[in-house]
Amino acid sequence: MSKRRRAQPSSFWRGPWPIVGTLGGIVVVVAAFIVISRLQTPSPSGTTVPTADPSIVAELTGVSPTVIDAVGTGGAPNPLTHASGTPLTGSDGKPEVLYLGAEWCPYCAAERWAMVVALGHFGTFTDLRLTTSSSNDVFPDTRTLSFYGSSYTSAYLDFAPVELQDRNRNPLQTPTASEQQIAQTYDPNSSIPFIDIGNAYTMTGQGVPPGPLQGLSWQQIAAALSNASSPVTRAIVGNANYLTAAICTLPGTNGAPICSDPAIKQIASQLPH
């Protein structure tokens, strides 16, 4: 009897059950993950979305000079192309930054973070709203801020954002004839996002890679910008520094304190002329 009891653990160990049990356990755990994933609250849809928490905007527009200098280009290649058109100006004669994008577009979603950081050095945003990119595209549900319905005031430049479609690809805003003309000239393939910095530099397609933002909330992305070694910060601030440097080359903008930053001056000196 006692011999039989001692033999039982051995036969169990030598049989298929340790392996079958482990594989079964893995299947159960993965199935539980899938159930948890499906029970999570779906992402917001449409454009009826909340205004961004002021603390998020404050973190974006208040990235410290230490972080800006530590990140530099973030190791990313120059996303800007030199343009030599007639200087683009707003209605009051200040240099203008034109943006064409769409709320569903994941690359626009990622790029807007850098744009708010860069433009925040020169002025103030109000009524930025929280939204996400499309759920049915690459990098789905990338958290972002929409320029639709927002306003921007600056002593140095004008900002003209155009969100062509909402996150469900419904029409949202239509560019003016002159904005369409600019897009046809510098962005013949109609890639978005398209950014025209005073007709001096343009950027089309991907700037900030959406990958580092995947799975992060708006608060997490904004909070990450205080850590220079974060992949999120390197992606966003690295691209923002390129945009900032390009803006600093526009007439009348170099009075902004950010244009005296060593890292920005360094990047500006390396931009094609």
Binding site: Q40, G211, Q214
Partner: protein, 140 residues
């Protein structure tokens, strides 16, 4: 004789897993640091880039990609395959399995995206665990 043949096959399987896993983990590491896109299907569920460039793709608090740990783990596995340290190998495989379950949690629950290359690596780790248990069973 048959038992020795099984053990030889198990050792060979572990070496093959070690080499394949190391190559894939190196590939994932290189693409993490470069701007070269991964060869991968893109759909609403499968997207390697969104996983391997996500905030969870690095060792917490660092900018070191987790795939570097994968390289070290698979190289270590190759070392265990050449020795008779079967219980240490089981511990190594269990650690690998625990990390894989965490990464699958990140993919499914947090990112809602699956990376094909990562799934292959996860499969190799599970296979390692199975072969390791089998090696312990036949090694008695």
């Amino acid at each position: 004789m048959g038992s020795h043949g099984n053990r030889g096959w198990q050792r060979a399987a572990l070496l093959v897993i070690s080499i394949a896993g190391t190559l894939i983990a190196v590939y994932l590491t290189v693409t993490h640091f470069s701007f070269v896109p991964l060869v991968c299907t893109v759909s609403s569920v499968v997207n390697c880039a969104s996983v391997t460039h996500s905030a969870y793709s690095v060792i917490p608090g660092t900018s070191i990609p987790i795939s570097v740990l994968g390289v070290l783990w698979f190289v270590g596995l190759g070392g265990f395959a050449l020795t008779s340290q079967r219980w240490l190998q089981l511990l190594w495989a269990a650690i690998g399995l625990a990390v894989v379950l965490y990464l699958v949690f990140v993919e499914i629950v947090l990112l809602h995206q699956i990376c094909e290359w990562c799934t292959v690596v996860h499969g190799l780790v599970v296979a390692t665990f199975v072969v390791t248990v089998r090696r312990l069973q036949t090694g008695e």
